[in-house]
Amino acid sequence: MTTVVFIIVLVIFAASLHDAGATTMDPCLESTKTASLPDLPYAYDALEPVISEEIMRLHHQKHHQTYVTQYNKALNSLRSAMADGDHSSVVKLQSLIKFNGGGHVNHAIFWKNLAPVHEGGGKPPHDPLSSAIDAHFGSFEGLIQKMNAEGAAVQGSGWVWLGLDRELKRLVVETTANQDPLVTKGTHLVPLIGIDVWEHAYYPQYKNARAEYLKNIWSVINWKYAADVFEKHSRDLDTN
């Protein structure tokens, strides 16, 4: 009798183990973190008169928020598709993830790339970033000219970047289309400064005068952030 009970208990125990295995089988899907809209590190009007409060509100609360919402929605759908083994849907979702996820990634960096003047916005970087800029672009002004030229020439929507190539150990200026993150131009590229040249980034204030927007934005660029990222990766490079 006790043997039968023992066997029954064993079966029940084995069944519960099987269930436990099923729920913990896909921990990566369970624990996927959704994106959320980061707060701006300054008030909406803090970048006036370079970037208007109207633009900052629309840009942050509408455009970036929409990227976050749509990205999470796409991630959710991806999760279901992966769980179902629906590979067609998995593939189909990639462009939505790229658009919206890229939009979230890029804008999260962008808000940190900007700072009010009284918090250091526009103040050129110190060494080692400063020397690196001189080495690769001749001068700080040379870098700005190059980025403005590239940014103005982007056709349609996109970004212009100052990046660090971790492999080649040098600074680069790159552009990406739409919401492609910098890493799509090279897996070793780390974004230091990104400037949004989608029309929504400047239109209410500058209308079609993108060149003027680019010229002005440098007075609120947060070089502290760029220098910190640069130093962090330079340190990593040194220890490799």
Partner: protein, 301 residues
């Protein structure tokens, strides 16, 4: 101010070796509006594409598309494309051609020449102003409606697909209704069994400056979904702009006229046999050889 007439040197050899010369151009109105070129004070000669005003005044589309939008969209963006295009092509082989010819040549099978962006955007915007009208909207009628119902099931289904395409065209671009005459899906494919049903209405999304002319489709209608087209009136709310466009602005009359022309053109081309399937089986003839005048024949092995 002195006005001097300058005849631009055209390059027939260049034209013969390119696709566009074999395609009957669609938009006669876009034939080069060639005025005598003016010699400005500095002695610089300017090429002659002129701004084409919309067929209504700039405030006539209020409240659906504001005067302010037209002031910037037509008065700045479109003007800049025309002016920059003129600067780019003056004195080159692209000078002295119609706007459509410049678009097709500079597309260069997808490896776009620098003039493409300005030329195509100039063309696209002219097409766009004419696709809308004050008191627009409503439903199409006649043959256009019949084809829409044939190719999309119903007008409502077409509307939903068109709006969805325009809303999901990420970044800058245009969404088109086009007439695709006797074309297979893959470019350069020869249709082995051409049928009337192969001539279809299609909805096409294009990025940046690209338009369906480059695939030899006949554009019938377009909506500009670059942000500058709707930002002043709708901010980020593109879906609202698209709804307004379809309900209050679209000129079905114009679309119908364009469809009629497209169908006539398609029939003419079939009869003249200028499609590639005709060229695939040429008569026994000496193939004509077009020499680039720059090449010295003695250099060729």
């Amino acid at each position: 101010m002195m006005t001097v007439a300058v005849t631009a040197i055209s390059s027939p050899l260049l034209l013969h070796s390119q696709g566009p010369n074999r395609q009957l151009l669609q938009w006669k109105r876009n034939e080069k509006r060639r005025l005598p070129t003016k010699v400005a004070g500095s002695g610089v000669i300017t090429a002659g594409f002129e701004l084409k005003p919309p067929p209504y005044s700039l405030d006539a589309l209020e409240p659906h598309m504001s005067r302010e939008t037209l002031d910037y969209h037509w008065g700045k963006h479109y003007r800049t494309y025309i002016e920059n295009l003129n600067k780019q092509i003056v004195g080159t082989d692209l000078d002295a051609l119609s706007l459509e010819e410049v678009v097709l040549l500079s597309y260069n099978r997808g490896n776009m020449l620098p003039a493409f962006n300005n030329a195509a955007q100039a063309w696209n915007h002219e097409f766009f102003w004419e696709s809308i009208q004050p008191g627009g909207g409503g439903k199409p009628t006649g043959e256009l409606l019949r084809l829409i119902e044939r190719d999309f099931g119903s007008f409502e289904e077409f509307l939903e697909r068109f709006k969805s395409a325009a809303a999901s065209n990420f970044g800058s671009g245009w969404t088109w209704l086009a007439y695709k005459a006797n074309r297979l899906e893959v470019a350069n494919a020869v249709n082995p069994l051409p049928k009337e049903e192969d001539k279809k209405l299609v909805i096409v999304k294009t990025p940046n400056a690209v338009n369906p002319l480059v695939w030899d489709y006949s554009p019938l209608l377009t909506i500009d979904t670059w942000e500058h087209a709707y930002y002043l009136d709708f901010e980020n709310r593109r879906a609202e702009y698209i709804n307004t466009f379809m309900e209050k602005l679209v000129s079905w009359e114009t679309v119908n006229t364009r469809l009629e022309a497209a169908m006539v053109r398609a029939t003419q081309r079939e009869q003249e046999g200028t499609y590639t399937e005709e060229e695939a089986n040429p008569d026994d003839e000496e193939p004509e050889v077009y020499l680039d005048s720059d090449i010295d024949v003695s250099e060729v092995d």
